[in-house]
């Protein structure tokens, strides 16, 4: 179980390989990587993530502990960045290890839904029109709430 918060970029492939190498005979691993988005109709040049690191570590640690128990995960790792990020750079990577695929998928999905609404990070986008704070999306709250059922 681990949480890593860092300003520096990371190599998603290398992180995945290291995670898989330590899989110790588990049957299923899921990796999700979130990247800085920019679309032609909504261009973004950089993304800045503000964080409250002490609270983030506590919150993500709690989420991992819950995911492990709830889905029977063997292991879960969350890497989350803060600071200034360029388009296409990785922001977050969630990796789960379980005996079977459904638990690994569900665990990763749960952790991502949790990170969107309950981990203290705030995104600010720099666009051609200036800077703007990203607003929390109701659909992210809905996605998080479905795990409470």
């Amino acid at each position: 179980m681990s949480v890593r918060l860092q300003e520096a970029s990371f190599d998603p492939g290398a992180e995945t390989n290291a995670f898989l190498t330590a899989s110790a005979g588990a049957g299923a691993a899921v990796t999700f990587t979130g990247l800085v988005r920019s679309r032609p109709d909504d261009p973004v040049s950089t993304l800045t993530l503000e964080s409250y690191p002490e609270l983030a570590e506590a919150q993500i640690g709690k989420a991992i502990a819950e995911a492990v128990v709830r889905f029977g995960l063997i292991k879960a790792t969350v890497i989350h960045r803060y600071g200034r990020l360029a388009v296409g750079e990785p922001i977050v990577q969630v990796m789960t290890l379980a005996p079977h695929r459904q638990a690994a998928f569900d665990g990763a999905s749960f952790l991502m839904d949790y990170l969107k609404t309950d981990a203290p990070f705030w995104k600010k986008e720099l666009t051609p029109e200036g800077e703007r704070w990203v607003e929390a999306k109701p659909e992210d709250d809905d996605a998080r709430a479905k795990w409470n059922k």
Binding site: G34, A58, Q59, I91, K116, P120, W122, W133, V134
Partner: protein
């Protein structure tokens, strides 16, 4: 106690943290938010929709009804947008 502000709340208040000594009648997080609004026009404007302000006591996120009790750090911030 120390209050820390994040994201647009920090920007609108033009400060990331401050030391405050609220009076005894400020019991809950909600009371604290109201007290901060009453003493400062910028805070009043920035927190006029209390539903948009989330709070953490030390390293735990709590609802506004939670007593502040002996928290060393109270963090106030907008809804989170991580992941």
């Amino acid at each position: 106690m120390k209050i820390r502000y994040f994201a647009w709340l920090r920007e609108r208040l033009n400060r990331g943290e401050e030391e405050v000594t609220p009076p005894a009648e400020v019991v809950t997080v909600g009371d604290l938010i109201q007290w901060l609004r009453d003493r400062d026009e910028a805070a009043d404007l920035a927190m006029q929709k209390p539903s948009l302000i989330k709070a953490a006591l030390d390293t735990e996120i709590v609802p506004h009804s939670t007593p502040i009790a002996n928290a060393k750090v109270v963090a106030l911030f907008p809804p989170m947008t991580g992941g």
